[in-house]
């Protein structure tokens, strides 16, 4: 791998790694979600340093060029992380549903109690 290419690849990988760590530190990204991103940036760093490994993997998966291997794994990563997000969104949707229902039922109950209290206080005022 030419030196310039290596520097660019390493810089991007290190930037992503630091960004993810920083986001977790600032509590803007939960540890749970950081795992896949950190793994990817680590793999990028390793492959940029150990170009031979990338060539070996390319031979192993039967790809023609190391770049194809990189694109293939990049795509795989995006698919996995998207499925992961879809599962999370489905779960969140379920939780929002329960909250909304609970909220509606509680509000209804609260209104009834308030109404009853109002009637009660009106009655007691009338009797005085």
């Amino acid at each position: 791998m030419p030196l310039r290419q290596k520097i660019v690849a390493l810089s991007i990988a290190i930037f992503i790694f630091i960004l993810v760590i920083e986001l977790v530190r600032r509590r803007k990204l939960r540890e749970e979600y950081s795992l896949l991103w950190l793994l990817t940036s680590l793999v990028m760093i390793v492959l940029a340093i150990q170009y031979d490994w990338l060539v070996k993997i390319t031979h192993f998966v039967g790809a023609a060029l190391p770049t194809s291997t990189l694109f293939f794994f990049g795509l795989m990563f995006i698919i996995v992380i998207n499925i992961h997000f879809s599962v999370k969104v489905s779960r969140l949707n379920d939780q929002v549903k329960k909250f909304a229902q609970e909220n509606a039922l509680l509000k209804n109950r609260l209104e009834k109690i308030e109404h009853r209290n109002k009637e009660h206080s009106n009655k007691s005022m009338d009797s005085h």
Binding site: N93, D94, K97, A100, Q101, N103, A104, L105, K107, N108
Partner: protein, 234 residues
Amino acid sequence: MKKEKIIVIVPSYNEERNIPKVIEGIKNSISKPHIAVIDDGSSDNTPLIAKSFGVEVIKLPFNMGYGVALQTGYKYALENDYDYVIQIDGDGQHDPKHIEDLLRELKKGKVDSVIGSRFLVNENQVPFFRGLVIRLFGFITSLLIGHKITDPCSGYRAMNKKIIKFLVKDLYPEDYPDADLIITLHRAGFCIKEIPVRVHPNIQGKTMHSGLKPLYYIYKMFLSIFLTLFRRDY
């Protein structure tokens, strides 16, 4: 003997024009009905208008879909210890006159849920494509549960407490609780029966099956029916 508690739940979304007629219809069809309008985050005055008729109004904070609105009604019914629940759509397409028929059939105690079918009455007019899709899913449902169901999409139903306890679980579908739900209920051991009901064509021509939704509906239903056969979570 304890008097049986009955509630009519009316899922509604932006039905300010139709809801008065639906509530009046219910009030005329059974004596002293308990009615709960489940407002599915309407942007119009549906909840206010419903309230002015002296019925219970349960307001969801935002639009969550037909299934969520219905399930909220079931949860309300269970919390307040109702024995029978009747559900009728807020758009005025169901004739409330049949509430008595649904209840009568349910009270015989032979079934857990009674569905009002529009296909058992000849005069009912159903748009061609919708009719075709419903008949297709009716056919599949009948095949899978072993007895005839003609209108799996009907939102006009009566249910006993046993089934309500089941329907408040997480497995209840959020968008279209139709054929897949009937199959799930059958597999969970509940008995369902259909009786004929008259439907009015939707007054404003509004339907939750518009745009690309019918295609999604068909996809969702096929997938859901298929997967229901492999589930054992009840």
